[in-house]
């Protein structure tokens, strides 16, 4: 029977191009005392995390550290744990993780800490005892203030506005809405919140709700969406109602999803943190934790090109969110 020989040669044939295409990387086999930092995204294919990784790489290059990057490519909840456990047995120095399953991944991160690895989280936190610092991209107040301040500037600090949210029970969104209300009471007495509508995180529903809002409140000056599908949804409704420019649209969302409306002038601006900086900061913080220059209890952190950032408790704050407008939105691809 030649079946076996054939199978063997087939396997070898498969392996040859694979090996041929490989080249030894410049970094070498961990010789010397080079810091090894592992960077874990929630998922690998997501443009948001690809952008995070770009910032992480920049930071690693700056530090002369080796960066390992791996994340789940499917929805198996065990994948993040397996990747972390692999890094533990590999003996990396630092792990920076964005947690998909908070409780589950905390199990693995605790093991990493027990093995002497420094752990920071970014984007989505683990349980507090499973990491030293959380690199927080934006506080609730930061987001609420940025949304309302920008909307107020657009409407000259007075007039009616409405909010589109994901659904009325979403914890994140409700915290941001509370921040918006507090800011309004404190700084903009002439502005009035007339309605809050849920869109179930659907663009179509947001469009429909905004159309209703425009009909019900003829004096409406601005729509603020606190969920990302709501921004293009509200923009489409305003555009179709022929109110481009008269009713301002601002919201929290990815620049790529809103580029067309921003350029048309329907949406005035979208707010988000600079995703690349988030990855950069996570690596910087992890490395500083490893070399001892950042310790629990610190009140500020010098993050290289990002300057000195505030640390609140065990949260390192990336700072105020960034406003993407007609002028700058073309520079971003996430």
């Amino acid at each position: 029977m030649k079946r076996s020989r054939f199978l063997c040669s087939l396997a070898v044939l498969c392996a040859v191009p694979f090996l041929g295409a490989c080249k030894k990387s410049e970094s070498g086999a961990g010789g010397g005392k080079k810091l090894t930092i592992a960077f874990l995204p929630k998922s690998k294919g997501n443009q948001y995390f690809v952008t995070c990784e770009r910032g992480a790489r920049a930071a690693a290059n700056e530090l002369g550290a080796e960066l390992l990057f791996d994340g789940p490519t499917n929805s198996d909840p065990a994948k993040q744990n397996e990747i972390v456990e692999n890094w533990i047995s590999l003996g990396v120095d630092v792990i920076a993780a964005a947690c998909e399953n908070k409780e589950g991944l905390s199990t693995a991160l605790r093991k990493a800490q027990a093995a002497g690895i420094k752990v920071v989280t970014y984007d989505a936190d683990a349980q507090p005892d499973a990491r030293t610092f959380f690199v927080n991209q934006a506080t609730e107040k930061g987001i609420g203030d940025a949304l309302l301040d920008n909307a107020a500037k657009l409407v000259g600090d007075e007039g009616e506005f409405a909010i589109i949210t994901a659904n009325l029970t979403a914890a994140n969104q409700n915290a941001w809405i509370a921040a918006i209300k507090a800011r309004q009471a404190e700084k903009y007495p002439k502005m009035k919140l007339v309605d809050i509508k849920p869109c179930d995180d659907l663009k179509d529903k947001a469009q429909q709700e905004t159309t209703n809002l425009l009909g019900a409140h003829p004096n409406l000056k601005a729509v603020i969406s606190v969920c990302s599908p709501g921004v293009p949804g509200a923009a489409e409704a305003v555009k179709q109602a022929g109110k481009t420019g008269t009713v301002k649209v601002v919201g929290l969302g990815l620049p790529s999803e809103n580029k067309a409306y921003v350029k048309e002038g329907v949406t005035q601006l979208v707010i988000l943190w600079k995703v690349e900086d988030l990855g950069y900061l996570a690596i910087k913080a992890g490395a500083a934790l490893a070399d001892g220059s950042l310790k629990p209890g610190a009140s500020e952190f010098n993050a290289g090109k990002l300057g000195t950032l505030k640390v609140e408790g065990d949260n390192i704050l990336l700072g105020t969110p960034f406003a993407f407008t007609k002028e700058n939105i073309d520079q971003f691809d996430f």
Binding site: S25, K44, P77, E82, I83
Partner: protein, 339 residues
């Protein structure tokens, strides 16, 4: 020419199991040379710790496929059993041990449902388990409203998923016991040997006096029960019980079985083959994550380990399946050209 010697050597090499053993040896050689700390004790433990659930499913998938069936519902069953385990411990305040047995019980009942529909009502296994694939996962999601998860289990329970016992991860010992059990069942009992006879010819087996219905039923009930066990181990490893446990694991288990040489039409295959197929895939998945000193398309191989292991597992499986028909075509062409 020492004819007898070469034929015996050929006969050994021709065995699918031997070929798989060679594949594993090549993998180990390759990864221990190219990878970083691949043969490190903690990594070898990881290889098995991370794949034990898939290994368990592959073991019980073997009798199912031997009878000419298939069970697509085992991954979803893990999700349902994981959620039930969480509810038993966290809401009913049962001890993890009792909850574990109850979860295996739920798996057994689910397997029983498959068995009833397939063996009794004679419905096609693919369709039945496609139905229960949705049903079990749907129930798991409904019980947790899609997002609720159970965590903060006692350390003594988490040890099942995270500790070493006598040099091996705790759950690997359970796996070895199940593997031995399935091996003895399939290869050393009259009852188990009939799995292959049924797969080869269900009608013939019936005429030969085999209780086809009972045999086929047992294969599915066993699959359900072991899926429940896999779910408990999975929860112990992650420290979290959630509806998405075991998502996609049914296909990984089927891959291991088919790679191990079991015919997807039933009738032929071995438990040893399944074990080797499972190890070959597990080593590949883990090993690629260790190759960080080499690059492909300007990225570290370890940075694309999951993508590459998908590609390579696919190639390996297709190669293993395509060999026989390809050889037949080659042989017939050769004999034609000789005529």
């Amino acid at each position: 020419m020492t004819a007898s010697k070469t034929t015996s050597l050929k006969a050994i090499l021709a065995r699918h199991e031997v070929v798989l053993l060679l594949v594993i040896a090549v993998e180990v050689l390759l990864f221990s040379t190219l990878g970083r700390r691949f043969l490190d004790g903690s990594n070898v433990s990881n290889i098995f710790r991370h794949s034990v659930e898939i290994g368990l499913l592959a073991l019980v998938m073997t009798p199912v496929i031997l009878t000419g069936g298939i069970d697509l519902s085992v991954g979803s069953m893990m999700g349902l059993c994981a959620v039930c385990f969480g509810i038993f411990v966290k809401e009913a305040q049962l001890s993890p041990l009792v909850a574990g047995f109850l979860s295996v019980g739920i798996g057994t009942i689910g397997g029983g449902l498959n068995a009833f529909l397939i063996a009794r009502l004679k419905l096609p296994p693919l369709i039945v388990t496609l139905g229960t694939f949705s049903l079990f996962r749907g129930l798991a999601e409904a019980l947790t409203k899609g997002s609720k998860s159970y965590s903060a289990f006692p350390d003594s329970f988490l040890a099942l998923g995270n500790s070493q016992v006598a040099g091996l991860p705790a759950q690997v010992w359970i796996f070895l016991v199940v593997a031995l059990g399935i091996y003895v069942l399939v290869h050393h009992t009259t009852f188990g040997r009939s799995f292959r006879a049924i797969g080869f010819s269900p009608e013939g087996s019936r005429y030969a006096g085999l209780s086809v219905e009972k045999n086929v039923s047992l294969a599915y009930v066993l699959a359900g029960a072991v899926a429940g066990l896999a779910a408990v181990i999975f929860v112990a490893r992650l420290g979290e019980a959630r509806a998405n446990a075991g998502i996609g694991y049914e296909l990984l288990a089927i891959t291991a079985v088919v790679l191990g040489g079991t015919s997807i039409f039933g009738g032929s295959g071995t438990v040893i083959g399944t074990l080797l197929g499972y190890v070959a895939v597990a080593v590949l998945n883990n090993g690629l994550k260790r190759v960080m000193d080499f690059q492909l398309l300007d990225r570290k191989i370890s940075d694309m380990a999951s993508e590459l292991s998908g590609v390579l597992t696919g190639l390996l499986l297709i190669a293993a399946l395509a060999v026989t028909p390809l050889l037949r075509i080659l042989a017939s062409r050769r004999s034609r050209s000789q005529n």
